[in-house]
């Protein structure tokens, strides 16, 4: 059995499982947010009183927080009251941030866990070696009622990256490369395993970025089999111990030599419309967004700050910095990155999903164009239906913000 089959057979109390089988698995963590949570809780309350396993449920309100209007404030209040009554974890904005940044940070997810989240980017935690996937509100309600979730055991599609990583090439470029290669449904229903010497050398932050975007290729999950870097990351964080599982053969393997890869950008309106940033120099931008569950961690801001240090963003351009969590914000402040951004002319937003999904804090007007370190560039994703979003790494987004056009950081 491979890593996923081993986790899922353990979680379903079976001796073995194989791809294609339907199972019911124990959930170690059940996550909800302010968009998906209210629906899940209302459905739960129609059929149950007490959550089966309150220790497993976590609510993070991050999409429309700090509450953007009365309706979103009511939703957050409803979830806060529910969390208090059920004695489940609820992170206030002063102790939180974007869900997929704070759960690993606070030690809530560990290697070998089964995690479901009523948010499609729940696949992020595969970077820790968890089996982690996005579901809907009804699934979250079912998990609150029963402690379990139904799955079809996915096939594993393995991506092996080798070669020498070029300057300014990040996990974001590697995942864009991969999505560009296999398409937006190239890994539909499958678990994407990221492996090879390039992944072994990749930081945890960049592994989170890669697993986060597995869903953009249709993946059920993305994962990296735990190694020394994973062990270092979880060391000293609170919470339970990691579970160790063996790995085995994958159904399919794709090998990529990445030595010649240059900084990449996904053009509107799908994440698989990928091409080199250096070939998109004609695209003028109105806004740059740096942050999100994809690229809102400390090393992302280190990369952006490295580009912006001592420089100014292009006149007439808005650059919005969204630290992924309060902890990331504090660290970015301590390391001087926030000062670099302020001096460059950026605005610092609180930790929130904000503009990524067109919520608030940087919505685009008709015809405007943004470069963004987020994960989706669908029609109307960040605002008006005639606006456009280009997806890129923090290096590329920062460099483009300085120039006012899309450029590769190598062109600075």
């Amino acid at each position: 059995m491979n890593y996923v089959e081993n986790i899922l057979s353990h979680a379903s109390g079976r001796k073995s499982t194989s791809a294609g089988e339907y199972i019911e698995a124990r959930c170690d963590t059940v996550l909800m947010n302010d968009v998906t949570g209210p629906l899940a809780v209302k459905e739960f309350l129609k059929r149950g009183k007490k959550i089966k396993n309150p220790g497993s449920v976590v609510i993070v309100c991050d999409h429309f927080t700090p509450n953007k209007d009365i309706k979103s404030a009511e939703n957050v209040k409803f979830l806060r009251d529910f969390a208090k009554k059920q004695k489940i974890r609820f992170f206030e904005i002063g102790d939180g941030g974007v869900e997929h940044v704070i759960l690993p940070e606070k030690g809530i997810v560990k290697p070998g866990d089964v995690v479901i989240g009523a948010d499609s980017h729940t696949c992020t935690y595969g970077a820790l070696g968890a089996f982690s996937t996005g579901v809907g509100s009804t699934d979250a309600a079912f998990a609150m009622l029963t402690g379990k979730i139904w799955f079809m055991v996915p096939e594993v599609m393995e991506f092996v990256y080798s070669g020498k990583k070029g300057k300014f090439i990040t996990g974001k470029d590697l995942i864009l490369l991969t999505i560009g290669k296999i398409g937006v449904n190239g890994a539909n229903y499958k678990a994407m395993k990221f492996a090879g010497p390039v992944i072994r050398a990749l930081s945890m932050d960049e592994r989170f970025t890669m697993c986060n975007m597995a869903i953009e290729a249709g993946g059920k999950a993305g994962f990296v089999v735990p190694d020394k870097k994973t062990a270092e990351y979880i060391k000293g964080r609170p919470g339970k111990k990691a579970r160790v599982f063996a790995d085995g053969a994958s159904a399919q393997t794709l090998k990529m030599d990445i030595s010649s890869v240059k900084p990449l950008v996904a053009a509107p309106h799908l994440p698989d419309k990928v091409g080199p940033a250096a070939k998109m120099n004609k695209v003028k931008i109105d806004q740059a967004v740096i942050g999100s569950c994809t690229n809102g961690r400390i090393s992302d801001f280190a990369q952006a700050a490295k580009i912006m240090k001592g420089r100014k963003i292009s006149a007439g351009l808005r650059c919005i910095i969204l630290p992924g969590s309060q902890q990331v914000y504090a660290e970015a402040l301590k390391k001087g990155y926030i000062e670099t951004f302020l001096k460059a002319g950026c605005v610092i937003a609180p930790p929130t999903c904000g503009p990524c999904l067109g919520g608030h804090m940087g919505i685009l007007a008709g015809g405007e164009t943004a470069i963004s370190t987020t994960n989706r560039n669908f029609v109307g994703r960040m605002g008006a239906t005639s606006s456009r979003v280009y997806l890129a790494s923090p290096y590329t987004a920062a460099a483009s913000a300085l120039r006012g056009r899309i450029i590769s950081p190598e062109q600075l």
């Binding site: 309706k71 979103s72 729940t122 996005g134 009804t138 009622l145 029609v379």
Partner: protein, 164 residues
């Protein structure tokens, strides 16, 4: 459960994402009728006026990709759409449909379907017919486990029934 679903085709392309099915600006509510009023608005602003109860969405690949928002299938269902037929579905969207009881069928028929075609789904036979083209398509069979959820009236009813 009805064994025959009949309706007019509303045809869309590939990778119709949940952001266009129900844009985030409407996600502060989970009221089905409010959501239905804005269903597909960013793809076709007249969708809610055009669709009649019973209509069937016929789509290409990867229908419902993107966000996990269950508001998307809820909006479609409350618009009066009786079923969605697609060459393939994005997995979270497919789960959400099964879980809330919106009928979905995997079938590659978009390329020869025109808007307004009369479509008949015979669930017993596992066949879909287009009255204009007289073509008959086989539906990909549904796994037993999924049938159980659907025949219980959705995932939560399944959970409650099992508890008894």
């Amino acid at each position: 459960m009805k064994n025959i679903i009949k309706g007019r085709a509303y045809v869309v392309g590939d990778s119709v994402d949940t952001d266009v099915i129900i844009p985030a600006r409407f996600l502060t509510t989970d009221n089905a009728n409010e959501l239905a009023a804005h269903c597909m608005e960013d793809l076709d602003k007249d969708f809610s006026k055009k669709v009649k109860t019973g209509d069937i969405i016929v789509a290409g690949d990867n229908f419902g990709c993107g966000s996990s928002r269950e508001h998307a299938p809820i909006a479609i269902k409350a618009s009066g759409i009786s079923a969605v037929i697609a060459k393939s579905f994005a997995r979270i969207f497919l789960r959400n449909c099964i879980n809330i009881g919106l009928m979905v069928f995997v079938c590659d028929m978009k390329k020869d379907t025109r808007p307004g075609d009369e479509i008949t789904v015979d669930m017993q036979k596992g066949e879909i017919a287009n009255a204009r083209t007289k073509k008959i398509y086989q539906v990909k069979p549904v796994p037993e486990f999924i049938k159980k959820i659907v025949s219980s009236g959705g995932l939560l009813n399944y959970a409650v029934q099992r508890r008894k």
